[in-house]
């Protein structure tokens, strides 16, 4: 279908930029270039899932391996990514069909009250998570002796550079180039020379089961869930799908994009766990490794300097990519909330508020990281938890939107997918609540 535009209707530069990208998609489809078509259409799915392999997530996976070794958490991480792919497919489909972002649809379909609550949830979790991304960049670069202001400034320059082009395609391809380095965690895992039989045993039996402190187990369980399924991912992927110009005809390729993102992200996540499991094997005390000293230094005696350096580079990539994607999700959500511009396909002069939200979010987070004595360790540990706790509300709205026949028509959720979506929401809610209750009562001195 092509645009049949009445002569009195207006076209914008944003339309033209998106149309240029869409023309290449239509040509590739017309000429039967399957891989060319896939290359043009991948992006939002890969970015959202590799972007969620961010600083605190990779540290959570590493903490799982260092605390419990290769066992229960290895298959558990793989399963959480299956859940993430299922949820993100819904967000992608809703965006492709409605051409509206997640936040935008909540405002329009359910009203400003629920819309603002969702955006406020997002802003809270995004700010905390963005802080942890700059912590990851700072910790990763400190391994190479780079001072904190330079490391944090470098992260900010990257965010500013990526948004400077006035075109979604450019931003997306810069982010994808960076995302490829998430696979460094797989390289580190190989360098740690894991026992293939132990890995196979873990996947087959989900054992050995974690022992020890209930609060620590729940913390790591909830952190790992928060490392794969979080509210910003819904806002980001749906808005990115709209910004990229994905249509219902592209849903098959966008599903591949999302699944591929899930597979690669799960591989990197499991890689971080496997690499750090050498610390468990050698009985290294890991209780404070997420502070400045970091995992890389702890791993160095066992995997050598090159392995530790690659782990640090992976951490820098994880923080840098997520700084880009999470600040983008903040800008998309705020732009949609205030009915302002919300597209990378607009020039700076045409959408100053959108770019100000994007860079402003990164700037605030970076500033917090440089405050002397800021509780960076506590923020890192709690970032994923906050996301887990607030995720069920976001999931409920997504499921309602994906089931909205007036919006989605025949592309609304089938019944079985709803049950899976509800199960994910309940499990995420249970994990977050369990940790919150245990931690709360332990804080009060009523040890559970």
């Amino acid at each position: 279908m092509t645009a049949e535009v009445a002569t009195e209707e207006l076209l914008t530069p944003e339309d033209l930029t998106r149309a240029g990208d869409r023309r290449r998609v239509l040509e590739a489809r017309h000429r039967g270039r399957r891989f060319g078509l896939l290359w043009l259409l991948v992006g939002p799915g890969l970015l959202v899932l590799l972007g969620e392999n961010d600083g605190p997530s990779m540290l959570s996976y590493a903490a799982s391996g260092a605390t419990y070794g290769v066992g229960f958490f290895l298959p558990f991480i793989a399963v959480t990514f299956v859940a993430a792919v299922i949820v993100q497919e819904m967000a992608m489909r809703v965006g492709a069909v409605t051409h509206r972002g997640y936040g935008e649809l909540i405002f329009q379909r359910f009203g400003s009250f629920w819309g603002w609550l969702s955006v406020i949830d997002l802003l809270g979790t995004n700010l905390v998570t963005l802080i942890t991304e700059f912590i990851a960049i700072r910790v990763g670069m400190s391994f190479f002796g780079i001072p904190a202001p330079l490391a944090v400034g470098g992260g900010l320059v990257l965010v500013a550079f990526s948004i400077a082009g006035g075109r979604y395609w450019r931003w997306e391809r810069i982010a994808l180039g960076l995302a490829a380095f998430n696979m460094l965690f797989v390289v580190v895992a190989i360098m740690s020379r894991p026992d293939p039989a132990a890995l196979a045993h873990a996947f087959a039996t989900w054992s050995p089961l974690p022992g020890g402190s209930l609060q620590l187990f729940l913390l790591i369980l909830a952190s790992n869930i928060g490392a794969t399924v979080t509210p910003w991912m819904l806002f980001f992927q749906q808005s990115a799908v709209v910004d990229k110009g994905i249509t219902p005809k592209d849903i098959s390729q966008s599903r591949i994009d999302t699944i591929l993102g899930g597979v690669l992200a799960a591989s990197a996540g499991c890689g971080a766990l496997v690499a750090a499991s050498v610390l468990f094997i050698h009985h290294v005390d890991t209780s404070r490794l997420q502070a400045g000293t970091g995992f890389a230094e702890a791993l160095q005696p066992f995997i050598g300097y090159p392995g530790a350096a690659i782990f640090s580079l992976g951490l820098i990539e994880a923080g840098a990519l997520a700084a880009m994607t999470i600040s983008a999700s903040t800008a998309y959500a705020l732009g949609e909330a205030v009915k302002g511009p919300h597209s990378f396909n607009r020039k700076l002069a045409d959408a100053p508020s959108f770019y100000a939200f994007n860079l402003g979010a990164a700037l605030v987070a970076a500033a917090v990281v440089l405050i002397p004595g800021a509780p960076l360790l506590s923020i890192t540990l709690n970032a994923n938890l906050l996301a887990v706790v607030l995720m069920p509300a976001a999931l409920v709205f997504l499921i309602m939107l994906a089931n909205d026949r007036e919006l989605m028509g025949p592309r609304s959720n089938p019944g079985w997918l709803n049950w899976i979506g509800i199960a994910v929401a309940v499990l995420v809610g249970l994990a977050g609540t369990s940790y919150a209750v245990v931690a709360f009562f332990n804080t009060l001195g009523w040890h559970l």
Binding site: M1, D15, R100, F110, G111, S378, P392, E406, F440
Partner: protein, 74 residues
């Protein structure tokens, strides 16, 4: 906060290019809000219960976080 961006009028050379977009992908179409959905009483009550529950749990997490920070600083 509706933005006022530069517009291009049909008849310009870019007119052919724009046909690569589906009609509902044009900015002017995407800016039109979809109709508000009427939630049933049960759905609204359910959303409120979920919201109160999540705020309670969030309060617990924030409290534990704050106490942890205070204890660490001492």
């Amino acid at each position: 906060m509706q933005d006022h961006q530069q517009h291009i009028y049909l008849g310009e050379p870019e007119e052919d290019l724009i046909e690569s977009l589906e009609p509902d992908q044009l900015v002017v179409e995407m800016d039109r809000p979809v109709l508000r959905r009427r939630l049933s009483g049960y759905a609204t009550a359910g959303l409120w219960v979920l919201r109160v529950f999540l705020l309670t749990v969030t309060g617990m997490v924030i409290y534990s976080f704050a106490i942890g920070v205070i204890n660490t600083s001492h």
